[in-house]
Amino acid sequence: MDATTAPHRIPVEMPKYGEQHHIFEMMQVPREAPPGLSLCLDPGVGNVAAPPWVAWQVQTDWSDWIMLQELLIHQPKEPIQFMLEHLERDNDMVPRIFILGPPASGKTTIAMWLCKHLNASLITLENLIWNKLSGLAIKALQIYEKEEAIPDFLLIKLLLERMSKEECVSKGWILDGIPETREQALMIQTSGISPRHVVVLTAPDTVLIERNLGKRVDPSNGEVYHTTFDWPSEPEVQNRLKIPLGISEEETVRRLMEYHRNITRILPSYPKILKIISSDQPCVDVFYQALTYVQSQHRSNAPFTPKILLCGPTGSGKSLQAALLAQKYSLINVCCGQLLKECVASNSNIGELIRPYFQKKMRVPDQIIIKVLSSRLKKQDCICYGWVLHGFPQDLDQANLLNSSGFMPNRVFFLNVPYDSVIERLTLRRTDPTTGERYHLMYKPPPTMEIQERLKQHPGDTEEKVKIKIDFFYRNSSLLEDFFDNVIYVNGDQDPYTVFEYIESGIIMPLPTKVAQ
């Protein structure tokens, strides 16, 4: 090859395939790459330059590997054999969670609920020691019964032993209350155990001291209840409950002080995977927040061309959001209605086909729309930079057509706006015929009375017409919602920049993983 860096054409199947099978996450490939040996697919800039045979380079972000991480931790003598075994296990996505927090914050409750929900195994200090089958555990138990602290190295050995068991490897694990000190955290790290999510519960000390006084434990399965906040409904369980040791005020205060001393030195060990949740709210809320967090994937540097679909009734702000997105991320704004009008105006062959439908005010048939849309979306700039589509599909048939043409979006947003807001937004729109300036009687009123006198309303903005369009949308919306996976619902009834931020976060964060039930 000559020493040129002219962009080459990459078949569109490649990035699509890569995204679909999460190749980039699996191999951890970066956006940037050296010239001459790389594929640059920066979502922001979209410069596609590559050699004819695509060679991807692996990135150097040390905190974000999967297979490579394992290789580096274990450094096996036979890397190929190791990689084969790793692929065989196929456990990249199992939960690996630490739950930390002060006493009485609800760690055990949350840990148990998460375990049941995610089908992972729970590891606590108690169930590590009470393991009759392990020699290490028996030694630890002896030390524990003498009321002494278990030495760190023994704890780590117990952990490693437990985590190498089949159920932890294949189903994942949730660690409750370990590590307690910085030394433990460091030892855990060096032994190769690294969580993917760390949840830290917090609450004010006074709340915790109060709460701890009401703690009750069910001795048969170790579940924790509370006299006020979480009282079991079955009377047999109620009768079984015992008051655990060490919940008096002085004891709680002492443990809290120790916790505060230690936690500030543990948290910096998990910079990007930490989430702090306030446990001074009902348990269900805490659980819901924790669950959403552990199901979310962290942002990876995988190349990603956004193919966004915005759906919503007329007046929900789709065009505005699309314009904002296109401007910020250099995406191509594809408005279906606009596209058709452009075709007619340009007097092309397709335009001639569409013109009679416009003149008779009838809906353009789906086949023609999809033809125009495909030719736009196939263009080089759409493939490079990504696109934002709005105004299509409007019903299930159109959605199926879109799918069969090969243009499935990878993010779908539904903007929810209540009926009254839509009416308010649309029926108060006015245009000034002299200057062409558009106003809104509530959000952007005309500055002078003179202008206000001459304002006119678009005939399509009357309440009856708007109502017809909204009804049309809602008739088809539930089918559309079912058609796409992973739809993100956005509250469109807010100011545009808030909605924009919400949509942005939906695009940037990877889609949540589905939990295997």
């Binding site: 490649m14 190749i23 001459g36 692929l87």
Partner: protein, 141 residues
């Protein structure tokens, strides 16, 4: 080649990290991963995990028998490459072109110097040399 590029910006802060880098370099893990990813994207199998496992087993066996590595670029591709670089069919390419070609294939180590005195690189020399370098790299995986 991948290794030099990727590790150039790193500041080594601990001996563990240095050990890890040495490990990567010794087994040429990064080059291997680059090849695996290229193969996946080129073939686009329906089951990428199984494809990867398949490729890795083939490499494992090929290491022992020293033949039949799962190359992505084979001899006919090399001939086409040469012909693209030499459109007027003179029969040779310049060392600069040759160096760029090796860079693109990922076969050029930064410390390897191409003999600038060779005025021409013929098709046969090109094929033989690339084949030799490729074999050398695969054997070290």
């Amino acid at each position: 080649m991948a290794f030099e590029f990727l590790t150039r910006g790193l500041e080594l802060t601990s001996s563990r990290e240095r050990e890890a880098l040495l490990y990567l370099k010794k087994h040429r893990i990064l080059d291997l991963l680059v090849h695996l990813t290229s193969s996946i994207l080129f073939h686009r199998p329906d089951k990428p995990r199984e494809f990867l496992q398949d490729m890795l087993s083939r490499i494992k066996i090929a290491k022992i028998t020293s033949v039949d590595f799962p190359y992505l670029i084979d001899d006919s591709n090399l001939v086409s490459m040469f012909e693209i670089m030499d459109p007027t069919n003179q029969g040779f390419i310049t060392p600069v072109q040759y160096k760029e070609a090796l860079k693109n294939l990922g076969l050029l180590d930064s410390d390897e110097v191409i003999d600038e005195n060779l005025e021409v690189i013929t098709k046969d020399y090109f094929r033989k040399d690339v084949a030799r370098k490729t074999l050398k790299m695969w054997l070290s995986f």
